[in-house]
Point group: D2
Chain length 259, copies 4
């Protein structure tokens, strides 16, 4: 095989026997005891430390998605733990696998929509007109405008105003937030029903303010939920529900088959 | 089926259309913008806020395990992402699945050993004698004392002194840290070779100071690594290595078979 | 909460203390020793036994995807096993997570394309014209025609003629196979380069002959690869490569960073 | 870094542009259309084809574990699919993650116990005495004898007699099966209660007859369940239960918290 090798390279971290360096910072002396977990995530993603304002906002974005009760994701983690309590990591992994297009993935879809409508570095544009155009193009394609509406949180998602308030207070409420809000109003007008921006819509827009690539936006929800799932597994180990759920559902689901 | 149902109950969170409450705190007004991600994890696990000292120490424990370069776990995530870039969550999940007995799991084994040697609420004991007894019992069973030694970080793991320093500065260096240090010395003496406490040993001991159940100690590493894996996936999306690794390994692994 | 409950129902299996019934067949007496694993999979998916011809073809479809050497999926499983050898199931799970849009998922995309072009139960149509129309519509949308071309297997994928031969011999080479072949020719003509039908294209077309919903077509590859991954993990347990891969890649990837 | 590289080698498969060879057999001409999925699994694991008797028995072992109704593993897969229907592979992966020590893992524990009691190639031994010794040693250690008893299938697991019958009919009922049966009787006697051999116990013993390493025995259950989970996901896509389960459990679990 005469295939030419391509170089393999990672810029994130390196270790020697007496050192561990992450994003060019000495882990023991420059990171431990100095950075909180959210700031460490920011350092991982951007190769720099957040400003104090960015730290507040970024931590808030991630914290928003840590916990939302006994979700399908928490249930999958608990049911997995019941079968393999020696593999906590696999239970968390199982819970994460469902953070796809239906739930947390809408942060990504929102960010992608906003970047496609308004590429980074674009010159001045009429954001209201851009919102109209975006909504009408999506409706023409039969696509759902992401980041709007919520099955439970009506008429408004209580996380959204708080996230936008934090964005405003911390200098992270720019054109993408304005565009998202205009898209929300326009989608409501076009659909003729209330479609308030939900938490994933707000997070997607603020991620664009940070300049995060849309491909990684879902990752904020994934790391957040990993934290929440450990909490659910702790509770499952102390006050389990998985076996009871199994037995109830099994009984009901197959009742029509059993003799 | 006349099976009697057992109640299903979770104390972590609840939602109504206009509220989301986590551990008895209103998410938008009492958590967002106020808690960093590590403090949120602490709240999830303990149902209370950390003190400032606990916040520093807990964040440091988790931050320690976020990143250690291109580990097997990072490689598994990157190789998975290469096949399913539309499912970032599944790539993180794949990376987490390997955080078992060989790597991050030793935090759990350490905590378990320490709790079994010194149950919470034990009266005064001679920790040196307890360390001797613990090491000799484990050696008699052919068990490896967890949390000691490191294939790369020799003669000392640079994270360990920093973690113990932070524990001392923040009032979290009590009997479990002392016991772990005594166990380390005793294991070195018995084995006749250098066996410094590694980062997972230090983390396991400090988790005991916090009183975390040993069953959940591995969870700190799991949530931490979820953060780090998102960083690796971002880099993979921008500067990929997975396909090159595959081709090199495939070429070499099957060279002896190919005609 | 006055939410009205919806019924929960599964038609797959039921158990009582002395019986286990799957798809209306007694597992011990009617299935064990009588059905091979592929036939059991067919029974799961269709609630009936395959004919002898269907059995040959269905087993061949799945067997095709069991093994393709040290793939990214096999590597992810091996790297995971190295960290958590006590959780073989999690290593297989990690390996499966990457069977997405880039690799095995193209079976699904092919089947979806064919069903959308030619819905089940359609009347007589000119398949050549339909192929032209399908390819030109996809090209206009900038979409890649799935199931064509292969980075390694050129000029033809050696699995494809064999799968189509088996389809012909077993009465499963109908309009979807013909349409797929016409699409392949048309895509080659339009692209001006060789684009032979690859194994996933052939499998997708034959799945349509079976009438499998496109949403489940990827599942054949997933069950197949689970089999193959167990083989790789067995070899990894006996003749490991994961740690060596890690060390080589880590060394190379961070060489430019280390002092 | 002057680390010496170790060779990387896999004996399973190789490919060139026009060939794919698995375990030294040409995939298109020697495997497709000739081997059923269970035989292919056997080839993967043993690098040889099964005899007709081995084929019946091996397929039966795996088929036994494909389906057992709406298990925790099936529920985890369904709940995951509800959140990420575009990632069927991740839903199967989530379902597999729970096949640990509590459920399918007991096949492995049984095989390990039997091999440790009676290493392969041992000379003639008194199996009744060996069973007594094994049970009494395990009881002294506080260990549970694996492969015995079942929460639902009482007084006997209906799969066990059928599996042992197939083993006898196919020349695979040797010393390990006899030893397992003796261990079962002895454990019943010692415990003073009915402890019939369950399906995982029978499978573990027959795996020893095949000579499979105990580390891979759980893998039979993992590949089997991957098949069954695809069946559950198909049904979930057509007649879903995941969202209803979520809403019921969420309502009940947090009722005591909501105002």
């Amino acid at each position: 095989m005469s295939r030419k090798q391509k170089p393999i390279r990672s810029d994130i971290a390196w270790s020697t026997p007496d050192r561990i360096t992450v994003r060019n910072r000495d882990l023991p002396s420059e990171i431990l005891g100095k950075l909180n977990l959210g700031d460490m995530a920011f350092l991982e993603l951007t190769a720099r430390l957040p400003t104090p304002q960015e730290s507040v906002m970024f931590n808030a974005l991630v914290v928003t998605l840590v916990e939302h009760g006994v979700t399908p994701s928490a249930l999958a983690a608990r049911l997995t733990y019941a079968g393999a309590p020696e593999s906590l990591q696999a239970a968390v992994a199982a819970g994460l696998c469902g953070l796809g297009s239906v739930f947390v993935g809408s942060t990504e879809t929102t960010a992608r929509m906003l970047y496609e409508a308004l590429p980074e570095g674009s010159g001045e544009v009429d954001l209201e007109a851009l919102a109209k155009e975006t909504v009408s193009r999506m409706r023409a394609q039969g696509a759902i405008v992401p980041g709007l509406g919520h099955p439970l949180h009506k008429p408004i998602d209580p996380r959204t105003p708080r996230l936008f308030q934090l964005a405003a207070e911390n200098g992270l409420s720019g054109r993408y937030v304005v565009l998202m809000q205009a898209i929300g109003r326009e989608a409501e007008r076009a659909a003729g029903k209330s479609l308030p921006i939900n938490a994933t819509g707000a997070i997607g827009a603020i991620c664009c303010e940070f300049g995060f690539p849309w491909k990684i936006v879902r990752g904020l929800g994934v790391m957040a939920r990993a934290v929440g799932l450990v909490g659910h597994i702790l509770e499952e180990s102390q006050n389990p529900m998985a076996i009871e759920i199994w037995q109830r559902i099994e009984d009901e689901a197959s009742a029509h088959l059993r003799p």
